[in-house]
Symmetry: C2
DNA sequence: TAAATTACCCACTTTTTTGTGGGTAAGGCA
DNA sequence: TGCCTTACCCACAAAAAAGTGGGTAATTTA
């Protein structure tokens, strides 16, 4: 996702910044705190390293995520949500999560919720 | 956008329901109240009738939007946000709008905001 | 009953996004 | 110095979304 040169609508801008199959999932995982590429790759089922890196890069570029590189062994780069922008978008994702839970309850999908301990 | 058979993550479900180039914009326009296809087409700059219809159909299918058809002349079908699901997703979009405004202010894009009376 | 208006659909092309399968660079340890 | 490991990149193929340019059905007024 490349941003356009100009935006007149702030909502459109932010939508362009966080759209993409994996971005919400990555941000959602980051709510649990600083973590590494390897852990993200392990925790986000089905994501490829390429997609992870690509989306992480964009999220960083757009100011939702930042990273710290520390040497040591093994090599370690950690990613985390920025404050306030990254944390704020999480508020929007929380609402979406809540809508999703309600929807699943109302549409005979509570089994999946139970399995994930969300209900 | 076709939904999958199963979802384990409520956030992923909702993301799939509202992703698409025009969906957030359509929902955002609908916050102003019940309106017709023609008015949406006129107000949402650059959208084609096909995209509008397609996305409106999906939003309706997924429970964010509903419509009332009234005969009369001219023919009139009106679309509106559902309560509570449609109204609730608006809360998430409001946060995104707010993030967008802040971002634009901090990145030399306030001219566009002024022109739209958002600042 | 013809014209006007609104709502809506379909086949096809173009563009964008994802996925696959490779590869490189750089730090620390043995 | 060679070998792990982590981090990250690139070319190309596949799949998905959006755009184009047509179309139809229904209703009411003239």
């Amino acid at each position: 996702m490349k941003l356009r040169e100009t935006y007149t609508c702030p909502l459109e801008l932010v939508h362009d910044m966080i759209k993409g199959k994996w971005k919400p999932i990555i941000l959602w995982r980051l709510r649990l705190g600083k973590t590494t590429l390897a852990k993200l790759e392990r925790d986000i089922e089905g994501i490829t390293q390429k997609m992870l890196l690509e989306h992480l890069k964009e999220l960083t570029e757009f100011g939702f995520v930042d990273k710290v590189v520390s040497g040591g062994y093994p090599l370690k780069t950690e990613y985390y949500l920025t404050s306030p922008q990254g944390e704020r978008i999480l508020d929007a994702l929380k609402i979406m999560q809540e809508i999703g839970i309600t929807y699943m309850k109302n549409n005979g999908m509570e089994q999946a919720l139970k399995e994930k301990g969300l209900i």
